[in-house]
């Protein structure tokens, strides 16, 4: 990275990735690549790696969520609610990693027009949010059910059954339906992502507004305190964990069940054993009843097919329940008290409010608080329904397409389907449909597709071993796009930190700076968790270091002494949950998982956002 000069990062058009990655461009559609024809526009922007949504190299089919959000997020800012000086967020791929930029502001006359529309449209949302949420929830359930209803056959019949021929001829075959279904599921996932952003831009904007307001009144207030003021307690995001607590309590009331749950065997073995007793069967029935939606929780961010969900990695929820049962039997309390959380939030707000001297300010504060409270829970609710529930359904369906392709040797393994982008998968399906239609002995291009898959798998492997540069291009002097600040935490400090980090080898860093997300100081051995499955190695009292966390990680927080993440601001999952459990947390350090190794003794100060490596393992 010798070409990193002071104050700027390399030009994306000159930037070269390691040669092991050669051919990476072919995996992604051309509009997702830096290009000479758009160079002038691209050079004017500041591109940084999106470690929140794409911390890993992108499998071409997993890239679909990114494509979908680029459109959805941006349009709500530019065309729907019209946040005046802000534009969308553009994406580009480099070496299988995704870089994003906040698009430069529109011309002044557009800002004026947008302000007018913003003034007309946004108040309506705030005034009617509860009703709008109910509506959102209904349509999203419907969409999910539609996706769930898509049927992908395990194999094609040798001959279509009689009932497709008479008395009411169907007129088309399953081979055609498979192609159609793929188009349908693509449309549904894109639409789901439209819904995903329906109120998120405004929720973030309201939050940022409240942060400004609170800081004007109380110069010394910490963002973690503001986070506490706005956080909702009874949000969907926390429900899966509550269900685990409830099932654990149910188990403890029936000792044969709790004894099985406490065993060191696999989830599959436990389920088998439970089926052999009445109490066990009743307990399993209860678990089945709530599994959809509450076990539709991704074991990761929900963005990668290989992460899996609780429903297909039952060892994860069963390991949580094992520890809950053990704690319950020791007389410990496992649930978070929602009332206590709400009461604490209300106390903090009331006491701060009482400090405001001016009657006018108190009025403005109340009003600002009501605005943020009216909508903020959306930021927490949508996450469960989109990234977890719906993505779980999506991945299950896509795997079925993969199974079908693998069955006929178009692919070697079902999961190889993720090595093809969403424009390519229809080619594979059409190839399969054609070969079936042509009759016995007609070949597919399976060898060709399998060769492509093998090559791409190699490139992705090389990409995983590459440490991508945090940013490209020229840092901006101002930002008005709400997500850039709130979600990616792009501030003067982060940019400076990246510039610094790009000169220093990760292994030489001994101090990291991130967001002071949850106050308190902790010192202890680090446990770097790259995947949630690594959680089995976690020892009580360790400090967790992860790229980022999500609701399926919540139970982890009962075991650890503190949390550090690479990605995420003050309202990221890790920040919220840490505050609830009173654990120190530093989020958005950018580099923690590459700098810190399991076993290093680290000290984290959630009040200042500083992580220090005290002793290397």
């Amino acid at each position: 990275m010798a070409n990193t000069s002071v104050g700027r990062f390399p030009d994306p058009h000159d930037f070269e990735v390691p040669k092991e990655l050669e051919g990476w461009e072919e995996m992604y559609p051309p509009q997702r690549l830096f290009s000479q024809d758009r160079a002038e526009w691209e050079k004017r922007h500041f591109w940084y790696q999106d470690k929140i949504h794409a911390p890993e190299p992108m499998y071409p089919l997993d890239d679909i969520f990114q494509e979908a959000w680029q459109i959805a997020l941006s349009q709500y800012t530019t065309r729907v609610f019209c946040i005046p000086p802000a534009q969308g967020i553009a994406q580009r791929m480099i070496g299988c990693y995704m870089y994003i930029t906040a698009v430069e502001p529109p011309p002044p006359e557009v800002i004026g027009k947008k302000a007018e529309l913003f003034g007309k449209r946004v108040p309506y949302v705030f005034q009617n949010y509860n009703r709008l949420w109910d509506h959102w929830y209904d349509k999203f359930q419907e969409l999910g059910k539609e996706m769930e209803a898509i049927k992908i056959p395990a194999e094609f019949p040798d001959f279509v059954p009689d009932d497709e021929v008479f008395p009411k001829p169907k007129g088309f075959t399953e081979a055609h339906e498979v192609m159609e279904s793929f188009n349908t599921i693509i449309s549904l996932i894109f639409k789901a992502w439209q819904f995903h952003f329906e109120y998120l831009n405004l929720a973030y904007l309201a939050y940022l507004m409240f942060v400004d307001t609170a800081k004007k009144l109380f110069p010394g207030i910490k963002e973690s305190t503001i986070g506490k003021m706005v956080a909702g307690a009874d949000v969907s995001m926390f429900r899966p964990e509550e269900e685990l607590c409830r099932l654990s309590r149910l188990a403890v009331s029936q000792s044969p069940v709790s004894n099985i749950l406490k065993k060191d065997t696999s989830a599959a073995e436990k389920i088998k054993e439970l089926q052999s007793t009445d109490a066990g069967r009743m307990w399993l029935e209860e678990m089945e009843r709530i599994k959809n939606p509450w076990f539709y929780v991704s074991c990761g961010s929900g963005w990668y097919h290989y992460e899996g969900s609780w429903i297909n990695k039952m060892d994860v929820p069963f390991s949580y329940m094992k520890s809950y049962v053990e704690r319950l039997e020791k007389g410990e309390k496992i649930e978070r008290s929602l009332t206590a959380i709400s009461e604490e939030r209300d106390r903090i707000v009331a006491e701060y409010r009482a400090l405001i001297k001016s009657e006018d300010d108190r009025k403005s504060f109340d009003d600002a608080y009501n605005v943020v409270r009216a909508i903020y829970r959306y930021a927490e609710d949508h996450l469960f329904w989109v990234e977890h529930w719906l993505h779980t359904i999506w991945f299950r369906k896509i795997r079925e397409f993969g199974n079908l392709l693998a069955k006929y040797d178009v692919l070697k393994e079902a999961d190889d389907i993720y090595l093809f982008n969403r424009f390519e998968v229809p080619m594979l399906l059409e190839d399969l449909a054609t070969s079936w239609a042509l009759g016995i002995g007609a070949p597919t291009r399976g060898k060709h597709w399998q060769g492509m898959a093998a090559k791409r798998e190699k490139i992705l492997e090389a990409a995983r071993n590459w440490n991508p540069i945090p940013a490209l291009g020229v840092p901006p002097t101002e930002i008005s796009e709400p997500f850039t600040v709130m979600l990616w935490g792009i501030t003067t400090d982060t940019v400076a930190e990246w510039l610094k980090g790009s000169d220093v080898e990760a292994k030489d860093l001994n101090e990291l700076k991130g967001f002071a997300s949850s106050a308190g100081v902790a010192e202890g051995p680090a446990r770097v968790l790259k995947l949630l499955e690594d959680v089995v190695d976690l020892q009580p009292g360790e400090i967790m270091v992860a790229k980022c966390t999500n609701p399926s990680w919540s139970p982890v927080f009962t075991k650890i002494k503190g949390a550090v993440t690479d990605i995420g601001g003050l309202t990221s999952h890790a920040a919220i949950v840490s505050r609830e459990y009173g654990l120190p947390a530093v989020t958005g350090t950018g580099l923690a998982t590459s700098v810190i190794k399991t076993g290093d003794v680290i000290k984290i100060d959630g009040g200042t956002g500083i992580v220090t490596i005290v002793k290397r393992a």
């Binding site: 802000a86 004007k216 910490k222 400090l355 300010d361 009003d367 101002e478 940019v495 106050a519």
Partner: protein, 358 residues
């Protein structure tokens, strides 16, 4: 209470400012309100008046002052004031207080020894002006035994003739021989650490914080500014310790039992840079500070002491509380410009965030 000139602290309250001086009245108020204040008693301004008028002090001072020809606005005359002060204090301290007063003070002191279960209890004799005279008059620490208590009460009275007070009165055209004050006689806290706290951030007036300064030994080290204290900034509402600065404290203000004097004693090297408060003490102090502020209804400047021999949280004592003088008086102006939530949102949506990058 007309003829009464001595009171237990618990008999006093803020309403007795003019009777016993502010410090005594506030300590009484704190005691009555249930705060942990070292037990003690107060001599009213009437006691000062009796001492001055029933003995020959006033006559002798007035005689002496006839000889003083000095101009308080003339720097060259300062040595004259210094000499005069020395003489006035010599006169006052050479005269015994009326016998019945001496007897009563000793009776109160004996009762204090009895209540605390200590023979020859160590006390502090502190001045308490009815109008605020911060630091103008003097305080004597580690006074022990009935005779010494009586002697030091007189010393506090005579401190109304210290140089800076005499000059101040001369400038204001006030009588030089008389400025009635109250005296507090307080049980000494065997301070392991002590200091000052404000129920406001003294740097920016943020009322959501308690700022605590602390040093080893007695609180005079912090109050006088002779030691760089540890500093803590605590959020009053979340009880999070937002900032902690542990300083090199160098020395502590301590009692030398051989010379029977208070003195700065150098701290051992390994103690200089260790925090002098535990986290639980910081949080308990914050709780107390909030209660004191709520009781008086305005930001407070509080002195506290933490006993070496007592167990937490009984170890924490308040030795002074007064309204914070800098920010407390400022009128808080509105900062949000009467905007509605919607207007604030619109403002946020239209104002880009500046990044300092170059």
């Amino acid at each position: 209470m007309a003829d009464q000139w001595i009171y237990w602290l618990k008999e006093l309250g803020t309403e007795h400012n003019n009777l016993v001086g502010k410090k005594c009245a506030n300590l009484g108020e704190l005691t009555k309100a249930g705060f942990h204040v070292p037990p003690g008693f107060a001599l009213s301004v009437g006691a000062y008046d009796r001492f001055m008028k029933e003995t020959e002090v006033t006559g002798r001072l007035l005689d002496f002052l006839k000889t003083l020809k000095a101009d308080a606005d003339n720097v060259a005359d300062m040595p004259k004031f210094e000499a005069a002060s020395r003489e006035m204090r010599r006169i006052a301290e050479s005269i015994k207080m009326p016998a019945d007063m001496e007897e009563t003070v000793k009776k109160y002191y004996a009762e204090l020894c009895h209540v605390t279960g200590m023979k020859d209890l160590f006390v502090a004799t502190r001045s308490a002006g009815p109008v605020s005279h911060p630091g103008q008059y003097e305080t004597y620490l580690n006074v022990s035994g009935p005779d010494d208590v009586v002697k030091n009460v007189v010393r506090v009275w005579s401190s109304t003739f210290n140089t800076r007070s005499v000059i101040a009165r001369a400038r204001l055209g006030l009588p030089l021989h008389y400025d009635a004050i109250g005296v507090a006689v307080l049980t000494m806290v065997d301070a392991r650490a002590a200091g000052v706290m404000f129920t406001i951030n003294p740097l920016n007036g943020d009322e959501s914080k308690v700022a605590i300064e602390a040093s080893f030994g007695f609180g005079e080290a912090v109050v006088s500014g002779n030691v760089t204290p540890d500093r803590y900034l605590v959020d009053k509402i979340t009880f999070e310790i937002d900032e902690r600065v542990v300083s090199d404290k160098g020395a502590e203000f301590a009692y030398n039992s051989e010379t029977k004097e208070m003195e700065y004693k150098e701290l051992p090297v390994d103690m200089r840079k260790i925090p002098c408060l535990e986290d639980r003490e910081i949080l308990e102090l914050t709780k107390i500070a909030k209660k004191v502020e709520a009781h008086f209804g305005c930001p407070q400047d509080i002195e506290y002491s933490i006993s070496r021999s007592m167990a937490f949280p009984e170890s924490i004592f308040l030795v002074q509380a007064r309204p914070e003088s800098v920010w407390g008086k400022k009128k808080k102006e509105a900062v949000l410009g009467k905007k509605t939530g919607w207007e604030l949102l619109f403002e946020k949506a239209t104002t880009p965030i500046k990044l300092k990058t170059s």
